[in-house]
Symmetry: D2
Subunit: 479 residues, 4 copies
């Protein structure tokens, strides 16, 4: 990851190559999770994912026909569409050209499209017109580019997500209609993943946009072909993105006592945080920048702003960490007689991953020619980065090897137009189609996914309760 | 003043040689006081102190007889008593030997003595047994020594205040009885002037100990013979003495997140204060020390204490300054999740000085041989340092030249035993006696004192109201 | 002064209405200046400015003819030119349109013009082609607009300075030629007064641009008609403008130990300064803003920048204050293992004012109808704000009442186009012409100006030596 | 461990119950140690400690006779001596009574005793008078009590170390003489383990006091019977104990600019450290207290002192951490224009433990009835806490279960006088005697110990070199 481009994205899903399969990073977490991990091991044993994989991925001409249709769409039109979007990058929340292309294509393939969902101009939902009850299959698309120092660019290959997801959605929708099978296909256009606030998928989730989905799939560029272990977790800690906005009173430097200094307040926000770092568990990561630090040296600054990412491996202790930071801001305002507004603008939380989806999807990626295979499962984590969707609805993120460069680089953008990218996108589209085919056609498979997901969700809840008991707050005596 | 001995005294009355006669130190104060100072000038003109001085200090055999009695007591016994106390220094609130000597002497001279007044073990009140109604003449005594690095010592000559005041009190009491004149004499033994908390005279004042006095006198060592101008003010700013006591939670250094660090809190009290220094008027003086800063480096400190003197030329803006410091402490506790107790332990406020007493007393000091005369009146200030007594009851502090050394030095202690000290004490005792004689015997003089004092007190109130209007608090807009 | 527009100007000459005539603001300064002020009083007595004024301003048809020519130029063309520039504001260092108009006008009136002097694109020097030796009369012009929140604007009326100065310059130059008198006229176009760095006039001064001038004049907008007292001083303290640029090492937030945080360094620059505020004399004013405070919260900031104005009433103690601030920056870099670059970008120092120019100029302003007259002279200060020119060459800044609004407001801009502005500019142009006429035609007047200036300059040097002796640095013992 | 008593001990050996057997605590350390740990595993395999234990601890009447003699001494006199010392606690460096008792006993048993070694009054060396060349067997004794809030107390049972070690030393010395075997016995009296500075054993080590020893043994109170794994490490991180002493210049609060504030400096030492906590690896532990924080609030503090423990799991990165803290102090002095003295007063470093001693000693403890056996070896660590002795000379610390209370409690002191303590001390004395017997009588055993120790020492060196390569310092670019 070239940090110069990481300007505002709260989380960079898939970006940090994670070798450890453990979601619990601290002794306290491991202790709290002990019982749940035991039960999860029993669950996984009873689900027997290897046997499931063997059964589902066995030769199946019907499946292969649907997959071939997805490949045909990619080859004929959608890889070209991916290249087009790659060459016309638009940053988050203004992806007007990109969504027009995607929505037009979906309309041409009998989807009914509604833009502006969740109050976001460039978010959309596309429902296949001949949808026919459950199971409900969801496909998430993204399309925003990164902000570079000189131009927007598709250094994270979001440009391909639309075409990949649409290929699978159209192919499986056509299949359901053709075979008169029950089932519905819904495509979710999700803007501005790199641009929050707002956190688009969470906004959409809270607006009920994803309601009713049985399974959701998504693709994303990757430097290797991998899949997560089952469980709950996140790539890079639970995160709160928060802005602290201070206001004071202006005055000329020569009569500064007629003013109240908002810059001193923001400085003391940092100093206050530093003062308690040694009293916060060492796995926390709190870092901020000053985005507004006063206008002119001869005027007492009456406005100053800081922007922070506050991270902890679990969300339970994260709340304690967050309280420290919010208190630091309140204390800074109190000491400087300024006022502070605390603006929570972004959240990343643990998501849930299930082996019933991950192992089957991984097997298909290999079957359709994925390269650079990582043999061991990665750590558990949701299929999208907010945790809001992926802790509520089972799903899988496909990440076939599509670039030899790091995420968020111009090189990864170039790869989106080349052999390695096109090959990876084709793999993603085919594997995604195959998986959706299995979900659509095997009620017992859907039941297994649901059982795994629901059990892990329950265990996740128990884990959080255990953490709440583990993380006591020290008792301070009266002075 | 040799600072090494200034360990705990909140104010060092008479200690800083003040050349300016203005009580208002800042442009804002001078602007606020403009009208009151005009009215005060008119008052003083109408009182015509020079004429009053001429009239009262004219030859008067009756007065001289009383003054001679005071001198006799000094020469025969009380200078020796002063030397005795000088040679047996006792620090504040444990002046048991000293007050026994003083109280015994008073009892022997027909005073009824009550120790432990105001809840202070070494405070006492001595009332002449043949007291006969108004006017009520009060005499304040002090007797505590300073804490030196190696021993207690009378570097501020409080050892002589008892003998001086007693000489005057006994002489005038005997006179009233002998002449069957109306009037009462009360001696107030005030401990621990250098040792607060508590601020003994304020405690006694609030307990009503000084109630009913018409005039109060007191003496104090001095490097020169001077008197204050009439008005309201203080030698060295209005002062709040405050302790900030923080408590946290202990923990081993290796698991510091199980603790809350009270030392970090006290550190951030200082840092918070520093952060607003440029937004406080530059005449403020805020300084503190850390008296408890943690016990062992491998344990999170769960208790820490700081001690501050907070000063401003007037008490109105001082309240704003004080709020900044208290807020700094509250903010430090908030940011570190510790608790703070704010312990206000000492106060010095503007007192009132009147020319009707100051000019007459000054004339008598000169008449009885005072040396090192400062021709111009000093700045207005109360006759005792708390301002509580001296802003409520008219009075005068006598300060004949009694040492060639600075206050709070071993040299000043030595002078208390030598020629320069003995001479000064004699002058003080005689001038004090003469002044009390005039107050006791001239109803019109008492009326003039009262008129001056009451008028200045009213103007002082108006000044404070004007300051309240001048010192607005900057308006901070919502962020 | 509406502070919202005071974005970058280091000093705002004439902007603060100064009532006190004393240049020495602190007791230490007044003590150090005691002897020099005595000698200055003797000097002024011997110069007898009132007599000089009476003699020079007596009726003089030759002078009136020259003054009438200046008025004619104003009425016919130059007030319109002033309006034109007012309506086309250009901010500092890009005043291309403005200087083209001014230079063209000067060329049309026989001035030889050279742009780009001192390495500054929009600085120029215009010399009258028929210049004829000494005396050398200089005229300073400015023309930059202020940066408003929505547009550039002439809220300080610099737009009129060019026309006013040109009217006087042309009128007097024509007179010298016509009468075949000795003397030269040089016009100095000085850009970006509100925009430093760089400080244009100091750059030009150090490049020798002003060399050889006997007297320099200049005009400036004003809310009242005033003149300075003779002496040395400045309107708003001696000032250093300094940028502190820190560099660290970037790293992802998750492995912050691989980075070094430049934002923490800049924060601790502020915190370090605050830590010594109580050990710096209270007349100092140190204030800064953070102009770069990090890019993204998930990356350790590797660059951060602060911008400070550091002020003290005299430049001798200012050096001690400056050392505190520079040390604060070095200490911040040391503690954070970052690097710092200290960039001194602006300077304002005491200038010299002389009664021989100020009183005559003031008399002419009144003679030509100036309104809102301030009877008492203001505090001594240079005729331009850097102190570099005005402490080396005698001169006068004309400031007839030209607006009823505060400096740096849209209202003052509007006044430049209205009655009050036009009237004030006419007064300035006429008074400036009359003063230059007197300088050009009275050798004894020039001698008096030179004697006054040289003597004050010598006394200024003696004052600074006295200050150096007064400001000792406390001795710190070895720990 | 009840932290209220942990007043000054730098390390509390044996005090934290350590469950993990890994000496490398961080991923970086584990990566750096990878190769060395492999070689160490091979070494241990080749040494085959279990076989060695079986061979040595087999029935042996000669050994049992010597062990019985040690038990006899304990039963007859030395347990009583232990009780006596327990009942007369003396804190570090004033253990005059205690060492007199111990030295007298040794003299009575033919030891030649020299007190005051290494410049420490209460340190001593006792050499058996009939010592006879190699092997050289050393026994370390300690005897200092803890400082409680109301009295000194033997809450760490150092009172028993002298009697235990003397029992073994006398028994084995008598045996060597009786059997005319080669070998020498030396007892080292080491004061003030809980009281540093100075760190007595390191001072003695650097003075060459321990030179020539082949093996050193020591006992210590324990809540369980355990032994370390072989390797290099420490119980509680490598530690630097450092004092930072600041001096400034005093001044009265009213003219604070005449002073330089040493308390502000010490405050900013803390603040500076806090500012880089996020740029230091999270396993570091830096904590301090303010032991001198100014004398009086009305005087600028001219002296202030802080005391820090600085810890990191390895000493290589500890040097980087230490540099941060030292720089924080230097920066604080620079910013406040004060001076700082950095006083390094204590050190704890990794020591070496060998299985050839640990496993044999552990087997003997069990054989002689030790209770509360911890089956798994603890993490590798030296037999004494400084690391200076234990990384240079092979040895073993005996820690049979001797109390049911935590270290540093009054309860552990009580246990020293009771059944559990006496039993544990007897076990320690017998096991120590048996081990020394084996070392004295089996040359091949000594060779194995030496081979193990020397190899681990070499690997320790390689590990440190690997760490040096791993811990790069971030490169900071020029601003």
């Amino acid at each position: 990851m070239k940090i110069r481009f990481v300007c505002s994205c709260l989380v960079t899903l898939f970006a940090l190559f994670v070798t450890s399969g453990r979601a619990q990073e601290t002794p306290t977490e491991r202790e709290a999770a002990r019982e749940m991990l035991k039960k999860m091991a029993e669950l996984e044993k009873s689900l027997d994912a290897p046997a499931l994989v063997a059964r589902l991925t066995a030769a199946n001409p019907a499946r292969e026909q649907v997959v071939a249709r997805a490949k045909e769409l990619m080859d004929k039109e959608l890889l070209a569409l991916s290249d087009d979007i790659t060459r016309h990058p638009e940053i988050g929340f203004v992806e007007h050209r990109s969504i027009k292309l995607l929505m037009d294509y979906l309309k041409q393939h009998d989807f009914e499209v509604k833009a502006g969902v969740g109050g976001l101009e460039t978010a959309f939902v596309a429902r296949y017109k001949r949808n026919n009850g459950a199971p409900n299959l969801g496909v998430i698309l993204e399309y925003d580019a990164l902000r570079g120092t000189t131009r927007a660019f598709h250094g994270d290959q979001h440009s391909a997500q639309g075409p990949v997801g649409i290929a699978a959605a159209v192919a499986i929708a056509e299949y359901l209609t053709r075979t008169n099978s029950p089932g519905s296909v819904v495509v979710f256009g999700c803007p501005g993943e790199e641009m929050m606030p707002p956190n688009a998928k969470t906004v959409m989730f809270e607006a009920g946009v994803f309601n009713g989905m049985d399974v959701i799939v998504r693709s994303h560029s990757s430097g290797a072909t991998s899949r997560p272990a089952p469980g709950f977790g996140t790539c890079c800690m639970n995160i709160d993105g928060v802005k602290y906005i201070f206001s004071g009173a202006p005055a000329h430097q020569l009569q500064a006592w007629n003013g109240r200094n908002a810059l001193e307040a923001v400085i003391h926000l940092f100093v206050n945080i530093d003062s308690v770092r040694s009293n916060i568990r060492p796995e926390a990561r709190i870092q901020g920048v000053i985005t507004e630090g006063g206008a002119a040296p001869n005027v007492v600054p009456d406005r100053a702003v800081a922007d922070f990412y506050i991270r902890y491996p679990d969300e339970v202790y994260l709340r304690q960490v967050r309280k420290f930071v919010d208190d630091a801001a309140r204390a800074a305002a109190l000491a400087t007689q300024t006022k502070v507004k605390i603006e929570h603008y972004g959240t990343a939380r643990d998501g849930i991953s299930v082996s019933t989806l991950a192992e089957v999807g991984f097997a298909y990626m290999k079957m359709y020619g994925a390269t650079k295979i990582v043999a061991e499962p990665g750590r558990p984590q949701g299929f999208e980065e907010t945790g809001s969707v992926s802790s509520a609805i089972p799903g899988l993120g496909f990440s076939a090897h599509s670039s030899n460069a790091a995420n968020h680089t111009y090189e990864m953008e170039a790869d989106a137009l080349g052999e390695v990218g096109h090959h990876g996108f084709l793999v993603d589209a085919q594997a995604m189609t195959a998986l959706l085919f299995d979900v659509a056609t095997h009620p017992d498979y859907r039941a297994a996914i649901k059982r795994e997901f629901d059990t892990i969700k329950t265990l996740f809840g128990e884990y959080q309760e255990a953490l709440k008991r583990a993380y006591t707050v020290p008792k301070v005596s009266e002075p």
